[in-house]
Symmetry: C2
Subunit: 449 residues, 2 copies
């Protein structure tokens, strides 16, 4: 029932496309769900993909176009004339059309718009006004609305007309004569109501959750998640209903945000996966590696400053890895906790100072435990003095790393910079260098060097 792509299937498909075996293609490809057809197209070359695309009906073409991988879509669109692009855009929902159009160069945009149907062009042009990361930037114009003064039978007739252009109907928005949102009506209630009942007797008017067009996507996602909404109405600054956002856009946003944080924490500067080109993967990895390298060079400078000490007490070098590993780990852990909390709630109750105090307490608990442990280990290896140096330094490094790790993402967030940056290379590198300095300073003091 659910389709799964296999190597064998693709081999046959390549042949059948070459043979233009329409009946096989109809039965085995065109009968599939559009998401499956899109997935198949990801594995075809442009010529083959265009052939399959030409065989499906217009509406499905639009669905497929939005489902294929971005690189496949770009390749596909760049092989079309502006007139053809305009036709394709007309098959899309307004938000998707605006997204695709927004990615084109400015002159091409204008030309494509001029070739589109006037009404649809107007909708798309209107959507292009909004910031991409705002509610207006992801909303779609297609929605179903009913006037509060209509009776059910009139509403059904009106809504039937509207529904032709709206693929997925989940709710009916109820507006007053000035197009201001006054409530929400579920299809369920409309379906089970008598013909003469007035809409105003059916709709829910309290606790209507909506967003303003200029609110950030982050706010939209948090609101829809909190209230478990499938769609959310978007209002302009006069509270007029101008669009709706559906849950799939928000799921995508949530995933992208999670991916971004994950990339940052694992040292990648852009979204890549095993299928990305070798060149792109190398490029995505280089920034963090360069910063790590600069940190390593600074580390070398710090250690060379203590060269005299190492010459006389070479075992001081033994615990460089331990001090570095612990400083880096603690820093990343502290930042990650802050980043996860900010992702849940970007304006948390409670001050920065309280957070630092709590984090310091955690650092004291972990620091005491680990410092005693490493002292015991060093004694077991027969070097109590070195153990004392490592133990004291470790405690100091843990405290410093925890405080940096908490403070930096909070400060970044305060100045509207993505706090996840802190989990990246900077904190680890900073903690490495500071940690080495602390370690050797304590070492020199305790060995009277």
């Amino acid at each position: 029932m659910n389709f799964n792509i296999t190597k064998g299937f693709l081999e046959i498909l390549h042949q059948k496309i070459e043979q233009k075996d329409l009946s096989w293609i109809k039965e085995n490809v065109l009968s599939l769900h559009y998401a499956d057809i899109a997935e198949i197209m990801d594995y075809l070359d442009n010529q083959e993909a265009k052939y399959i695309y030409s065989l499906v009906d217009e509406e499905t073409q639009g669905d497929i176009l939005m489902e294929v991988e971005e690189s496949v879509r770009d390749r596909f669109l760049s092989s079309l004339s502006n007139k053809e692009i305009a036709e394709q855009l007309e098959n899309l929902e307004s938000d998707d059309a605006a997204d695709l159009l927004g990615d084109l160069p400015d002159e091409q945009q204008e030309d494509v718009i001029s070739k589109m149907d006037d009404e649809e062009a107007a909708e798309v042009v209107d959507l292009l006004k909004y910031d991409e990361d705002s509610a207006g930037g992801v909303m779609q114009k297609e929605l179903i609305k009913a006037n509060m003064n209509w009776p059910v039978n009139r509403a059904v007739v009106q809504l039937r007309k509207q529904a032709e252009n709206v693929e997925k109907v989940y709710h009916i928005y109820v507006v007053d004569d000035d197009d201001r949102l006054v409530g929400v009506l579920s299809l369920k209630r409309l379906l089970f109501a008598g013909a003469k009942t007035k809409i105003s007797d059916l709709y829910q008017s309290t606790n209507i959750i909506s967003v303003k067009s200029n609110e950030s996507l982050e706010t939209v996602a948090k609101t829809m998640e909190k209230y478990d909404l499938v769609t959310i109405p978007v209002l302009d600054l006069q509270n007029k209903l101008i669009g709706r956002i559906t849950f799939d856009d928000v799921v995508e946003f949530i995933k992208e945000e999670a991916d971004k944080d994950y990339q940052m924490a694992s040292g990648l500067s852009e979204k890549v996966d095993s299928y990305s080109s070798v060149w792109r993967i190398s490029k995505a990895r280089l920034p963090w590696l360069l910063i790590g390298m600069i940190g390593g060079v600074f580390g070398a400078q710090v250690i060379s400053g203590f060269e005299g000490g190492i010459t006389r007490v070479p075992e001081l070098a033994f615990y460089i890895p331990l001090i570095m590993a612990m400083g880096g780990n603690i820093g990343v852990q502290s930042s990650a906790i802050v980043v996860q909390s900010l992702a849940k709630d970007s304006k948390p109750l409670g001050s920065i100072l309280t957070k630092i105090a709590r984090e310091s307490l955690v650092a004291v608990i972990n620091g005491l435990f680990l410092s005693f442990l490493i002292y015991a280990i060093a004694v077991a290896f027969g070097n109590a003095k070195l153990g004392l140096v490592v133990s004291f330094s470790l405690f100091a490094v843990i405290m410093v790393a925890a405080i940096f790790g908490t403070l930096i993402p909070l400060l970044l967030n305060k100045y509207k910079i993505d706090p996840a940056l802190a989990t990246g290379p900077f904190i680890t590198t900073l903690n490495d260098v500071v940690g080495l300095f602390i370690y050797f300073t304590i070492g020199m003091m305790m060995y009277n060097l």
Copy 2:
């Protein structure tokens, strides 16, 4: 319109609850959306929360119970008798009731079930049979279904009855006389159809996406995402319709999975945020720190094995931080790329060997670039020989770290272990130790020590 909790609001609320000021509470709390009331309850003590809870109607009680923080819910439930818990469970949807019940100790479970209404108890008991991480474990029994042979007017009457128990209706599932799923009907089509039309003329029967009850939640999430579904029907092994899963459960699952990977990559062993107790945060951080520490001790052993070399060429110690930082970074990057790809597609086309080959190519590109760079830097600092040692070792460490970083998560995945484990402490620690060994071995050779 949308509610935001503030310190000021909470202060007044504490007072009003103490004064039992019903009219203020009604106007300012009870009129809010249940998700907002739940959020407020997170900030109240158990006594206060119970008071507010007792004032809302039964259905809203159920909604609130599922929205409050888990710790608040546990505290709240543990202050209720089994009879009271049974009453609360009856207000919930079947999947939520089963979740809460599943968290109780076995004897208490039985007692609570015996005190529930028979019909609802049967549903919940049935759901408890399924594995928590399977489709059956998250589905709810509440759904709307129509027999394919009904005419629209009969269907509307039947569906109205069913709809009383189903909070959110998005689709109507169409079944045959044996309760086998044959298609899906959108409320939109039903709403706009004539009274005498037969359901079998209305429903969509091709490309019906469903899952089997024993499929994993991961499969469910990927399927719903791929096909942009708000709900998905769940079938038993005979293709009978037994439940549905709604998008909010899947959004939660997606977020939890992303959180887990993120925690792993940032060295936390369980989900914590700034609001977790100091003790819990310390505990979540300790496992990675301990592994890092063991790695550090091994590192110390490796370096002490080369003590003679360091005594004669102390500058060898300078680049320990650089070698370690690079090995760790490369390893985490490689693993993270594999983990992200597996998250998208757990059974990727293409063999492990191909992936290792590609990753090695990336490592060669980055390795060559960084090795030349560090050689140039070392020469600039006036130490060409040391530069050569660092440059050669760095290249070797990058290659080894990249291969380990790719191979380990792929192997973990093959043996059904969460590949994200690889981004955690193990790879970094392994690479640190191996990297140091490579560095000092090359150093000893090149300095003829």
